[in-house]
């Protein structure tokens, strides 16, 4: 007769469901991301005025709800351009920079990281030395020099961000690849004669994808902040194009007289960035809780 193990009530940690706050924050995050995307895509439809049209008679007009009789919802800037319309158009710059730079750096970094982690050897060694070098180069100094050489511009700022960030993805993906490449199911696939390319694509990549998605989402937020900061310093996109960082740079001389000029563009940056941060946080909780 078999001895039945004594029924001991192990202190199983009570797994509480996600706090209500978590679902609320996800909804808020998706809402903010959706709003910024809508603004960028449908700018010509949504913007009440031409963002470039200056009206010197209406310069620094306060917002409608602040001073009665103003026809401008969020006021005007120093040469009488409609701030709301410029914010809506500015979403195009921020989101283009955020999404394209992250797409470039994540795809390139993931590909290099997969190759380095899966094959190892001198290629891995060389890649990782190069990644170390890239990661220890302070971003602001790199951006300062590169933009001084190339001049400001949308493409250049995307280039700077992509070049400085591929290494984070490469490192992340490499470590995931190393962790799974000796796993039984991959050994089995190899024994069955499955080609390396297919193993990487079907088995290694999917394992790394969760972590990549988390990093990418949070990087979109970060890159929107970096672009705005560089543009504010005059090292970002062309000052003639409506962008949030550029609007704040223009507004800094009127901070004493026109608070709305420097308040709303910054609010737009903050809300958009917060949207991506909220979604990224939720993804992190879901996909890779160990990722810091």
């Amino acid at each position: 007769m078999e001895a039945t193990p004594p029924a001991v009530a192990l202190p199983v940690p009570v797994r509480r469901g996600p706090p209500i706050g978590l679902r609320l924050t996800l909804a808020l995050g998706l809402g903010l991301v959706g709003l910024s995307l809508a603004a960028a895509v449908a700018a010509p439809v949504l913007a009440p005025r031409n963002p470039e049209a200056a009206d010197l008679r209406a310069r620094l007009t306060p917002p409608a709800w602040f001073v009665g009789g103003s026809p401008y919802a969020l006021g005007t800037d120093a040469i009488g351009r409609d701030i709301l319309s410029r914010i809506i158009y500015g979403a195009r710059i921020s989101l283009t920079v955020g999404l394209v730079s992250v797409a470039l750096s994540s795809v390139v970094g993931t590909a290099l990281g997969l190759a380095a982690g899966y094959y190892g050897g001198w290629w891995d060694e060389a890649m990782m030395r190069f990644a170390d070098l890239q990661l220890s180069f302070p971003f602001i100094l790199f951006a300062l020099v590169v933009i001084a050489v190339l001049g400001p511009g949308l493409g250049r700022i995307i280039f700077v961000l992509a070049v400085t960030q591929w290494a984070s993805y490469a490192r992340l993906v490499r470590s995931e690849a190393i962790a799974v490449k000796e796993a039984d199911y991959i050994q089995a696939a190899r024994a069955l004669g499955v080609r390396d390319g297919r193993i990487i694509w079907r088995h290694v990549l999917p394992n790394a994808l969760g972590a990549v998605m988390v990093l990418a989402t949070l990087s979109i937020a970060n890159n929107i902040l970096l672009e705005a900061a560089l543009t504010f310093l005059g090292l970002g996109v062309d000052p003639a194009v409506p962008s949030w960082g550029g609007m704040l740079a223009d507004a800094r001389n009127y901070i004493q007289t026109a608070w709305w000029d420097s308040t709303f563009p910054g609010l737009a940056i903050m809300l958009t960035v917060m949207g991506y941060n909220l979604v990224g946080d939720w993804l992190r909780d879901r996909l890779s809780p160990d990722l810091q």
């Binding site: 590169v146 970096l226 900061a229 310093l233 704040l248 608070w259 903050m270 941060n277």
Partner: protein, 307 residues
């Protein structure tokens, strides 16, 4: 251990060499310092520009120029500014204090905010306060630092005139820049303190400490925080490069007489020696801190030493 130190120090030196080469080469592609010199003074003649180049030494091949710069820099001489004729090291020394004050002040604010809040959140996990602290930190993470600076100027220097809006005119000038930098830094730190402390509080020795009747406050401080400190300190060290980015932009917003402003001005004047000097000195600071973190890690955790 000696090999580990040598390898890491060698790596740091290589990074520094690569950065100096990159900067020296890059800045020479941005434009002619001789032409920048004559800006606003009419078109210079060819001879004038030539004489300038001879005086600056910019008529020589790049390899010679870089070699001269690197050789002198290793002996502590960073050259003289094209624009003012002053030694670059003197220009840097005059500005370094302001940058250091900003960085240290910001860090102090960040630690003073992050440790109490992070600890409180960890002790009251999933309670309302924890949720609020986490939301607050996320909000802080989403703030563009320069916009937070502008908003603080708007409220605390323009509305109520408590602090000077910009420039450096005594200790009160430090408040707004350090507050801005500190709040942004604290947003990241607070999450790290919370996560690290939660991790530590799950350890068996914490249960032992509690089981033997140690007061909870002592458990947190003596066993929890002390052990949670390591990842936090590492993170602070590794964040130094990012901190530098914040410092450069905040110096700009607050018209702060520091190294970031010096670099931005020098770039616009094509003042090669100043750009090279400032970038190399700033990079040296970042690389040195990273190296220290790396080495102390190796000292504390022998497993890291391999490779």
């Amino acid at each position: 251990m000696t090999r580990f130190v040598a390898a890491r120090a060698g790596g740091a030196a290589a990074v520094l060499a690569a950065i100096s080469l990159f900067v020296a080469f890059g800045i020479r592609l941005t434009g002619d310092p001789a032409v920048a010199m004559f800006e606003g003074a009419g078109a210079p003649s060819v001879q004038d520009v030539q004489r300038m180049h001879q005086a600056f030494g910019t008529d020589r091949p790049f390899v010679v120029q870089y070699g001269a710069f690197a050789g002198a820099a290793l002996r502590g001489n960073l050259g003289t500014s094209f624009r003012s004729g002053e030694p670059v090291s003197a220009l840097i020394a005059a500005r370094a204090g302001a940058t250091l004050a900003l960085a240290v002040g910001g860090m102090v604010v960040a630690l003073a905010v992050a440790f109490p809040l992070g600890t409180y959140a960890a002790m009251h996990r999933d309670a309302l306060a924890d949720f609020l602290i986490r939301v607050g930190s996320l909000l802080g993470l989403s703030f563009p630092n320069f916009w937070l600076a502008i908003m603080l100027i708007l409220l605390l220097a323009v509305r109520v005139r408590w602090f000077p809006p910009s420039g450096y005119s005594g200790p009160a000038s430090l408040v707004l820049p350090c507050l801005t930098l500190g709040v942004i830094l604290a947003s990241t730190l607070v999450r790290l303190v919370r996560a690290s402390l939660l991790d530590t509080l799950g350890q068996p020795y914490i249960r032992t400490a509690r089981a033997k009747g140690m007061p909870e406050r002592l458990v947190i401080v003596r066993h929890g925080l002390r052990n949670a400190l390591l990842p936090v300190v590492t993170f602070i060290g590794l964040q130094f490069g990012g901190l530098l980015g914040g410092v450069v932009i905040l110096e700009n917003v607050f018209a702060w007489p520091g190294l970031g402003q010096l670099a931005l001005e020098a770039v616009s004047y094509r003042d090669y020696p100043v750009v090279q000097g400032v970038v190399v000195v700033l990079a040296l600071g970042v690389v040195a801190v990273n190296l220290l973190v790396d080495l102390s890690y190796g000292l504390l955790n022998p497993r890291v030493r391999v490779g």
